[in-house]
Amino acid sequence: MPNSNQLMKINIGPQHPSTHGVLRLVLELDGEFIRSCEPIIGYLHRGMEKMAENRTYLQYLPTVDRVDYLSGFFYASAFCDAVEYLAQIEVNKSVKYIRVLTMEMNRLASHLLWLGTFMLDLGATTPLFYCFRDREVILSLFESLTGQRLMYNYYTFGGVKHAIPSDWLDKTAEFVNSMPSKIQDYENIITKNPIFVSRTKGIGVITKKSALQYSITGPNLRASGVNLDYRKQKPYLIYNELEFDSITAENGDSFDRYKVRVEEMRVCLKIISQCVDWLKSNQGEVVSAIKQPLLKVPAGEYISNVEAPRGLCSCYLKSDGTNMPYRVKWRTGSYYAVQILPKLLEDNLYPDLMAIFGSLDVILPEVDR
């Protein structure tokens, strides 16, 4: 091991093309090999948990989408689930189906963006445009449903803001039918590509033990062989009624994380089509009945778990009977993925940094909150 003064200390970020937000990595390079890496985070800290303590429940709801702006529905659903449990607000079935439908479409959009930027890190430019072309369809569907493309503010306690537009379900069904061929296109270009395989197979291996040690969840954990999918293990909303399977792979390297996420896109499509069929067949009262702005939630505390695209998102809510939450704590997936990054980067080649970091699907608003 060369003594540390020969190492070249460089730092990547916080403004950098491939750090998916504002992460700063201080790397010590020995020629081509990375000897040590220290992530410095906090550049995107907006004080989500402090904001909750001086805002009412309804005021805090729009900011919840911004915890992770690529999967806003998951965090809104976690927060609404917690408040509805504490305030004993009943939510009828069609609202649950709408929530699962929009969440799965959001997961598909988030995975598409991940695939595009991951391939861009590795140097292939065209998959990015194909993924964004497909993601654009989902975003315009969300825009016609909720009014905005990324910051939805569509869920409220006890239902959703407004009903589904008339032709929305048909457009979604049409989109779902067109997607499998597109995903097959991505597989043709990427999966067996010798350069991609040689750059990601056996790189950045997370063993099952270290994954649990660093409490990695979501696709990263399932790629290491642990079959932990909160939609299956602890079914919330109506996941127990839906018929789908959770994908796992064995050796937990970058290639398997890629494989798990691409298969998960197909699972999302299956769930979306089931939800669309159900919603088409039975109408239900969807708009939330709670209209008074100063909602009082009785004292109590609750942890609601939701399977977000980047790992488990659990929202701990403690209320003290007033109309403002007493304490909100967000547990997000990328927070722990950044923590395991230095361990993965040890003694790897410098170009592998992009292959490993891209495959972990880390996004910084989730890490800094």
């Binding site: 460089i10 990547i12 950098h16 093309p17 491939s18 390079l29 081509e32 391939m119 590795l122 140097g123 292939a124 430019t125 065209t126 445009f129 194909y130 072309r133 270009i189 590509n193 350069i195 991609f196 040689s198 750059r199 080649l349 410098y350 170009p351 592998d352 940094l353 992009m354």
Partner: protein, 364 residues
């Protein structure tokens, strides 16, 4: 060629200029045409690359500056001209300014080597192919010079790596060149093209006996131009942004244009070696059929030959852009390993096969 000379003298005589001036200036004409065509071609190529990549990804590509975005590259060039030419402190002034020129000038020289038609063979040496390889490797020196002269630790590292990559991919290139020379039994590019003539369409070309050689040369050209799967030096924007970190303004424009001009000429060279240069793929020339065999027909045959070589070159350029659209980047250690462990033995294998093919076919 003398018919053209006769036309040129008549043209001068109209402005009652003496014939002597004609005699002096006539040899200059091709080089002026070459320079103008090269600059126009490079400007058009930069735009073509962006348009082709756009078509692959269902986009429109630049279409705001001029009709279909034709003046886009001119606008970029003017922008680069206006930008300030910064010379970093502590840089070797003379070598810092020499490097971009060293990258661009050889490319102009090589342009004349390639036979654009039976008559427009501006520089036809008996060792044309060898001369091409030597001059084509001068820009690699320019990269090394640029890296060293810009007094920047990162660009030195980047230029070292891109020079190592270019050299290790030159070796298979030369071995396949030897195979082609064996096939054509002459180094002169004109002869190589003539050796590929045959009555039936296509089948005289050297791509069929040494298809493996064609693939190797295509890959080596990609590596030499630092293009897609091998664009590690530029892609080092994470660590080192390659040798042209410190360059700005017109100097950067020179490096940028040199890269595209080099791409065009490399593709033209591969076309002459393997795809039968200016020979028309149908075995006969359309213009003789249409305009008969008189003087007019003969002249138009030359221009049709120019058309065929440009068509083949643009087909190869399209393939290079097509590869760029699909493949991700190679890692640095794979890059070197691929050249020495795979391409070099493959090129030797190709040389062996070509020699056997030549021995059995022409032994009688």
């Amino acid at each position: 060629m003398n018919y053209l000379y006769y036309l040129y003298i008549q043209f001068l005589a109209k402005y009652h200029l003496p014939e002597a001036i004609g005699m002096i200036t006539f040899p200059l004409l091709p080089f002026i045409i070459v320079a103008v065509v090269l600059i126009v071609m490079v400007i058009f190529l930069v735009l073509l690359e962006r348009k082709v990549l756009a078509i692959f990804t269902q986009r429109k590509g630049p279409n705001r500056v001029g009709p279909w975005g034709l003046f886009q590259t001119i606008a970029d060039a003017i922008k680069l001209l206006i930008k300030e030419n910064i010379t970093p402190v502590g840089a070797e002034k003379f070598m810092f300014t020499l490097a971009p020129l060293l990258a661009f000038i050889p490319v102009m020289a090589i342009w004349g080597l390639i036979p654009f038609s039976a008559e427009f063979d501006f520089i036809s040496y008996s060792v044309g192919a060898l001369l091409f390889m030597t001059i084509a490797s001068i820009p690699i020196l320019a990269i090394l010079l640029a890296g060293y002269a810009s007094n920047n630790k990162y660009s030195l590292l980047g230029s070292m790596r891109s020079v190592a990559q270019a050299i290790s991919y030159e070796l298979p290139f030369v071995f396949v060149l030897v195979a082609v020379v064996v096939l054509a039994s002459s180094m002169n590019l004109g002869q190589i093209v003539l050796a590929q003539t045959s009555v039936y369409p296509f089948c005289g070309w050297f791509i069929f006996p040494s298809f493996l050689g064609f693939l190797i040369v295509f890959i080596c050209a990609l590596a030499e131009l630092n293009r897609c799967p091998f664009d590690l030096p530029e892609a080092e924007s994470e660590l080192v942004s390659g040798y042209n970190t410190e360059y700005s303004g017109m100097r950067f424009a020179f490096f940028f244009l040199a890269e595209y001009a080099m791409m065009f000429i490399m593709c033209a060279f591969i076309a002459t070696l393997f795809l039968g240069g200016y020979l028309s793929p149908f075995g006969f020339y359309l213009s003789t059929k249409i305009f008969g065999n008189g003087h007019l027909g003969q002249i138009l045959v030359y221009f049709e030959q120019v058309f065929w070589i440009f068509l083949k070159t643009f087909f190869l350029i399209f393939c290079m852009m097509w590869v760029r659209a699909t493949l991700p980047r190679l890692k640095s250690n794979q890059l070197m390993g691929f050249a020495w462990k795979v391409l070099l033995p493959a090129s030797l294998l190709n040389l062996l096969f070509v020699c056997l093919y030549k021995y059995f076919l022409f032994a009688k």
